[in-house]
């Protein structure tokens, strides 16, 4: 039911595109709708074969994290940690001493806020090669409600020195990111989600940490989106094109290190920005881009993000609608920010 509802929501914007659009927005074929956590599961499974140093740990959420295939084929390299996340993070740090590459798996809330000090001391400060893989991030966890819907995790993680923060947008990209981070030496926070969302990026793509991806070149406004909001940014781009607005759309899958060059180059063309993310305004992608622009090229900017609020129970699409994380919201912010620059 959730999947169907989401599909309906995602298709809504596309249906509204008229034949009169002034700008040709690049189109992206939806290969299927899949959850990004399954991309992680496939990526991890592939890593099991590719890299014997990769080991996996899970705090009693194997099914939710889609780790079953890895466990089936590489049982000796998997450790069930029970409901003991603090121990899991520190054990992972210990496993690096011996050359292993531990991938920890639990919900984003329990991957960050619950274990912040363990990550801070034993992973980030000690600069250990631990990959913290976090599912069910943001509002789209849905019905479980605010206790489980962390919207602060990007901020928590990006504040830690040495930590890389990645939030891919779809199944294919999450799989590619999972494989890529094993080749990077150092702490990584990989954030993904629960619901099935449009899968539109290339199969077996090469994922480059810290390299923003240009989705649509434009001249009127830069839309910087991450995670589930990337597809909504594409939908927004179509709506804006219909209104005669040529939006540049960039997928910022890596929040830290931020691709400053790509962002500044885009702003030099458009002169204004909208950021979009399934996260608090405080501490998220928008916050990072504000800092970059304020210190390099002060620019009108609007944010699509949760405004200093916890989430609540509901279906994923109901929550995204209620908290304003929609294509429509991106369009409104784009119109507003374009007006501000004039």
């Amino acid at each position: 039911m959730v999947v169907l509802a989401l599909q309906c929501l995602f298709c809504e914007a596309i249906k509204t595109i008229s034949s009169q659009q002034l700008y040709k927005m690049k189109t992206f074929a939806i290969q299927n709708t899949k959850d990004t956590r399954s991309g992680f599961g496939e990526g991890l499974h592939e890593l099991g074969k590719k890299n014997e140093r990769v080991v996996a740990l899970c705090a009693d959420l194997i099914g939710s994290l889609k780790m079953d295939a890895f466990i089936k084929d590489y049982p000796n390299r998997f450790f069930q940690m029970g409901i003991a996340e603090a121990n899991m993070i520190s054990v992972a740090a210990g496993l690096t001493i011996g050359g292993h590459i531990p991938f920890t798996g639990t919900f984003a809330n329990f991957s960050t806020g619950r274990v912040y000090d363990q990550i801070r001391q034993s992973v980030a400060y000690s600069n250990k090669n631990v990959k913290i893989c976090a599912s069910h991030a943001g509002l789209t966890l849905g019905e479980d409600g605010a206790t489980h819907q962390i919207l602060e995790d990007i901020g928590l993680m990006k504040m830690l020195p040495n930590m890389v923060v990645i939030n891919p947008c779809d199944f294919n990209q999450t799989k590619a990111a999972t494989i890529a981070i094993a080749g990077y030496e150092g702490p990584v926070y990989l954030r993904f989600g629960r619901p099935a969302v449009p899968n539109f990026t290339p199969v077996d793509q090469h994922f480059e940490i810290g390299k923003a991806i240009m989705l649509n070149e434009g001249a009127d406004v830069s839309i910087f989106a991450t995670g589930h909001l990337v597809w909504k940014a594409i939908e927004a781009g179509h709506i804006l094109a219909e209104k005669g607005i040529n939006a540049e759309i960039i997928n910022i899958h890596t929040i830290k290190p931020l691709d400053a060059a790509a962002i500044l180059a885009s702003i030099a063309k458009t002169g204004c920005a909208v950021t979009a993310e399934e996260h608090q305004m405080n501490g998220g992608l928008g916050d990072s881009i504000c800092q970059l622009l304020a210190t390099n090229n002060p620019t009108p900017l609007e944010m699509v993000a949760v405004n200093d609020s916890f989430g609540e129970s509901g279906t994923p699409d109901q929550l995204m609608e209620k908290y304003g994380l929609t294509a429509t919201a991106i369009v409104e912010k784009a119109m507003k920010v374009i007006a501000r620059k004039k």
Partner: protein, 281 residues
Amino acid sequence: MTNIAELQSISSQMRRDVLRMVHAVKSGHPGGSIGCADFFAALYFEVMKHRVSFDMNAAEEDVFFLSNGHISPIFYSALARSGYFEVSELCTFRKLNSRLQGHPATAEHLPGIRMASGSLGQGISVAAGAALAKKLNGDKHIVYALMGDGEIQEGQNWEAFMFAAHQKIDNLIVTIDFNGQQIDGSTEKVMGIGADIEDKMKAFGWTVLHMDGHNFESILATMADAKNLCGQGKPIFIMMKTEMGYPVDFMMGSHKWHGVSPNDAELANALSQLPETLGDY
């Protein structure tokens, strides 16, 4: 084999190092540090099979983790005196740009330190992870860890105890420094950790041994027993009785010397009770 007289000589010098380091910067944790001096002397000069040519991955050697990172002075002294770095570097302890941070850190790349510690309760998990890594690698060496007794109040320890027993991590020897003191007073007063720690640990599936942390015969014999018990399906927990501040007369008997530095007169008094055996740094 280092004989006991030599170990006594080393630990006396290490205690002098600790007190001089803490006195020099008027900060640090001398009480627990000198209380564990005999343990560190035995560990680094007799018990562990380790290389001073530092390898972060500790392949094919024993490895040690200090969970109660605040007793860093004795850790640094043990590392320097056993050859990981020059003894003269001890004078940089807690000073700006030093590799000898207030609590152990890897960021400054001090040989012998493999994990930051100081925020308590994490070291046993780390040690369990490192022990698991050795098992995965087919490395038969042992992982040692030291924790404080007040530190056992941190809940993560109990997660680690459960985990290590469940995974049958039997190449792990954890020693707890039972000096009965923590910052705010005696451990029993602050948060009764109980006289039944042995029962608790046994119930958690660990093998429990006892030793006198101020008696080298006891330390060496217990450590030998612990090594022999490795490979039998259970992690090993050693309850080490020590006295905070031992053997400096005015530093023993309370928690007062947990985290204060001696003044000039107190340092002179303490050093007069600790023979200089290997030369001060």
